[in-house]
């Protein structure tokens, strides 16, 4: 309680300041620590080829997490993102015959449609987001499997593969795309009418509604954006794996994405979105998994370590309330 006296008598570390600073930047501290460990103990860690792999692997999660962060900002959640990735993936090989652009457009349209369904169920029917998106979580992947005939299909289209494994100015195209999307979403949240409205909805939906904000339209848009981002992630996953496997693409990614968002400091209660934090959250989880794999630790250890890191990160970042 009496921090003032403590600092007066012992001018050592300013605990109060650290405490105020940690919640916002705790995830970056964790990243730094993990990086340090890897630099010291993991061979080849600082090599560009390795860093590159980490960036590539986290790109789809970052993209999905961006959309998830927006949805969470409205006090929602979207469980269907993995299924959307599968749908996008299933559609690509079917339309690749008409060219990459056509295939991409079709898979994005699928994203739009799913988003419209989710958004409508949440905004207009009034379902709880978790339940509304649960239906497509269950059914969406099934639909993807129906569309793809349940079969994994190889993708040999060079243009598409370029998106997944090509470089532009020495940096993977995939990473460029993810970075661009981060900038766009960050900009949208900070600078646009849509961004402010979205946060207001998350803060107090009835009040925002009474203020004359077209809440339903904004909400539907948010879910559409989230699904479209997921379908981008889905088609990039296909480009990267060079095959389309509706049964595996994006499996359980909803949980990874939510984790990235929350670990990055965005509260599940809505009203605030941390875009950079979300990227940091994804990076942290990527580094954890990479570290575990590189040190040949098995899933049992990886999962328990992940659990602890999530808890610590979120504990540090939790909302403080005076008592």
């Amino acid at each position: 309680m009496s921090e003032a006296t403590a600092t007066a008598t012992r001018p050592a570390i300013d605990l109060a300041r650290i405490r105020a600073w940690l919640p916002a930047y705790g995830v970056y501290v964790a990243i730094a620590l993990l990086m340090l460990f890897n630099v010291l103990f993991t061979p080849n860690f600082l090599a560009w080829s390795n860093l590159r792999i980490q960036l590539i692997q986290m790109a789809p999660i970052v993209i999905v997490a961006l959309g998830m962060a927006l949805v969470i900002g409205t006090e929602g959640i979207d469980l269907s993102v993995g299924a959307v990735m599968a749908l996008a993936a299933a559609l690509i090989p079917l339309y690749l015959g008409y060219g990459v652009i056509a295939a991409i457009i079709v898979s994005l349209i699928a994203g739009v449609l799913v988003g419209l369904i989710n958004g409508t169920l949440v905004a207009r029917v009034g379902l709880q987001p978790i339940v509304a998106t649960l239906a497509l979580f269950v059914g969406g992947r099934g639909l993807a499997l129906v569309i793809s005939g349940g079969q994994l299909k190889d993708v040999r289209n060079e243009d598409l593969i370029y998106l997944g494994s090509g470089d532009l100015f020495g940096i993977p195209v995939l990473v460029w795309i993810a970075a661009l999307l981060v900038l766009i979403v960050g900009f949208v949240v900070r600078r646009t009418v849509f961004g402010r409205r979205l946060l207001a909805i998350g803060g107090n939906r009835p009040a925002t509604e009474l203020a004359g904000v077209p809440v339903k339209r904004v909400l539907v848009t948010v879910y559409v954006v989230c699904s479209v981002l997921a379908s981008i992630a889905g088609l990039l996953a296909v480009a990267r794996i060079q095959s389309s496997d509706a049964s595996a693409v994006g499996l359980l990614i909803e949980l990874s994405a939510i984790t990235a968002v929350v670990v990055g400091g965005t509260p599940l209660t809505g009203g605030r979105v941390r875009v950079l934090g979300t990227v940091a959250g994804a990076l942290l989880m990527q580094l954890v998994v990479a570290t575990m794999i590189k040190h040949n630790l098995q899933p049992s250890t990886t999962e328990m370590v992940q659990a602890v890191i999530i808890l610590v990160a979120v504990y540090v970042a939790r909302e403080r309330k005076t008592r």
Binding site: T192, V193, F194, R197, T208, L210, A211, R272
Partner: protein
């Protein structure tokens, strides 16, 4: 004997010293008024007394012993019972379950005795004028009835101290009378009562002693009877008596200049909504303040919301400046120039987690942006304008609205409405829960706005406010218009008569 004592208590929130070395003594069998402006620290003091907050410094004494309450439960067990400012019950649970929560009667097996609970609940509540089926969900009751349940709950336990934080702000006159009856009973039993209210006439009716808080400090404590009303106000506000006297109690100047033949800016015709509203018609001309009168539950809030597009209607028309809006949505209503200030500021008015700036700008973002990109410069301009004009007290435009005092929150809400440059302003209890100073400011603001040519609809449970502020009063009952008061008939007496006459009429029809 001092029943409850607060000794030199301080409580600091980030950026605010909500209580600064406050001492306060409650005697047994005393009704002690606790007054002060919005944000003076009344609720905070109460929360310290009841274990919701722990004081940062200072101590409590209860029945002549040092006391410490870690949780509200501790305080309750010790016999300190509280009705908080916002009704704090569980809307989804039944009335009886709310009444008995945590102390439900149990049978021999240790299981709850529902039968007994319902029986006893009905018996208890009748004394408070609540005759509803106690198995009904509490949330479906009118606010006043809910407040009565909270009161019954607080008094039911063997309380030695009962604390009431603005208990009457959502009660109708009849219920206020019941409440005062209960207070007198408690008083007679030697129970100490702390009573917080912004309604000064109530204080003088019921209280023995008074403590005045200003900016977290005690500025006066003593017998209420010894304290002139005007002096009390000046202590509260920290202003000279003469200044207070000059300004008067309500901020209304009375009477607005409206051309009798002016076309109405708002015209409502035969508004119907499933079982709640029946053929409601009235109109408002530019520069006119039309009051909506009636008891709680009369449908005033629903009427206002329906006009603003926030309550579903089955029929009827809403016209603004002669243009039919055809069942407006909230978006269309705002676009057409209708601004609604909802009754429940916290739940439907403000986004507590966002800043003053974001809240004021929320409704007008499209106007302050180009191609969907907001212009911070233009937002700042408008925010500064309204913060100045409404004298909003905040550390700055970036302060979280949730941390402002009630009065300032209300002003932020009004600022947001005004920023939309409305043609009609629909105000639902605009001065509920705000202090005399802020109240007068809001009231004179309403005058000002009318003078600028806005049409205003005013809903208030404070009859005085209604008749002084409005040029005409449309009286509602059970969702229907039962009369209209104009000219000399705009008086408290006429208002109550109209309501009563309608009640009798209905009775005869049954």
């Amino acid at each position: 004997m001092a029943l409850l004592e607060v000794v030199d208590v301080s409580k600091v929130f980030p950026g605010v010293r909500a209580l600064d070395d406050v001492s306060f003594t409650l005697q047994a069998g005393e009704v002690h008024a606790l007054v002060g402006e919005n944000g003076a620290g009344k609720s905070t003091l109460i929360k310290v007394l009841t274990g919701v907050y722990q004081p940062d410094a200072g101590s409590l004494r209860y029945r002549d012993e040092a006391a410490r309450f870690d949780t509200p439960m501790d305080a309750q067990r010790a016999g300190i019972s509280t009705i908080y400012q916002e009704v704090n019950l569980i809307p989804l649970m039944s009335v009886a379950h709310n009444l008995f929560l945590g102390r439900e009667p149990r049978n021999a097996l240790g299981l709850l005795d529902e039968g007994r609970m319902h029986r006893e609940a009905s018996e208890i509540l009748i004394r408070y004028g609540v005759t509803t089926d106690v198995r009904r969900q509490l949330g479906t009751l009118a606010l006043g009835a809910q407040q009565m349940v909270a009161l019954a709950r607080a008094v039911m336990i063997d309380a030695k101290v009962v604390i009431m934080d603005e208990p009457t702000s959502s009660l109708e006159p009849r219920e206020v009378a019941t409440l005062f009856g209960v207070i007198r009973d408690l008083h007679a039993q030697g129970i100490g009562i702390v009573y917080v209210s912004h309604r000064l006439d109530e204080l003088y009716q019921i209280c023995d002693a008074v403590t005045i808080l200003r900016d977290g400090k005690v500025v006066h404590t003593g017998k209420l009877a010894d304290l002139e009303r005007i002096r009390l106000v000046s202590l509260m506000l920290g202003r000279e008596m003469s200044a207070v006297r000059r300004e008067g109690f309500t901020g209304f100047a009375g009477g607005h200049a409206t051309a009798a033949d002016a076309e109405p800016v708002l015209k409502v015709t035969d508004l119907n909504s499933r079982r709640r509203l029946h053929d409601i018609s009235f109109s408002v001309r530019p520069g006119e303040v039309v009051g909506l009168g009636g008891l709680l539950g009369a449908g005033r809030s629903e009427t206002i919301k329906a006009i603003g597009g926030a309550y579903p209607i089955d029929g009827g028309t809403v016209e603004v400046d002669g243009r039919d809006l055809k069942r407006p949505t909230t978006v269309q209503a705002v676009k057409a120039g209708i601004a609604v200030q909802p009754e429940d500021r916290k739940a439907e008015g403000l986004v507590a987690g966002l800043s003053v700036r974001e809240n004021i700008a929320l409704a007008v973002l499209p106007r302050l942006s180009r191609f969907g990109l907001v212009s911070d410069r233009r937002i700042d301009e408008i925010v500064r304008t309204y913060m100045d004009r409404l004298r909003i007290k905040a550390s700055g435009p970036d302060q979280r609205v949730g941390d402002l005092s009630g009065g300032n929150q209300q002003k932020v809400l009004l600022a947001r409405l005004l920023a939309t440059r409305p043609k009609v302003l629909l105000l639902d209890e605009p001065t509920r829960g705000i202090d005399v100073g802020a109240k007068a400011e809001v009231q004179s603001l309403i005058d000002e706005l009318a003078a600028e040519g806005l049409g205003v609809v005013l809903v208030s449970s404070d009859a005085e406010e209604l008749v002084e502020g409005a040029d005409r009063v449309v009286v509602l009952r059970d969702g229907a218009v039962v009369g209209e008061l104009t000219g000399d008939r705009v008086t408290t007496e006429a208002l109550l008569e109209t309501i009563a006459a309608a009640a009798e009429l209905e009775e005869n029809n049954e």
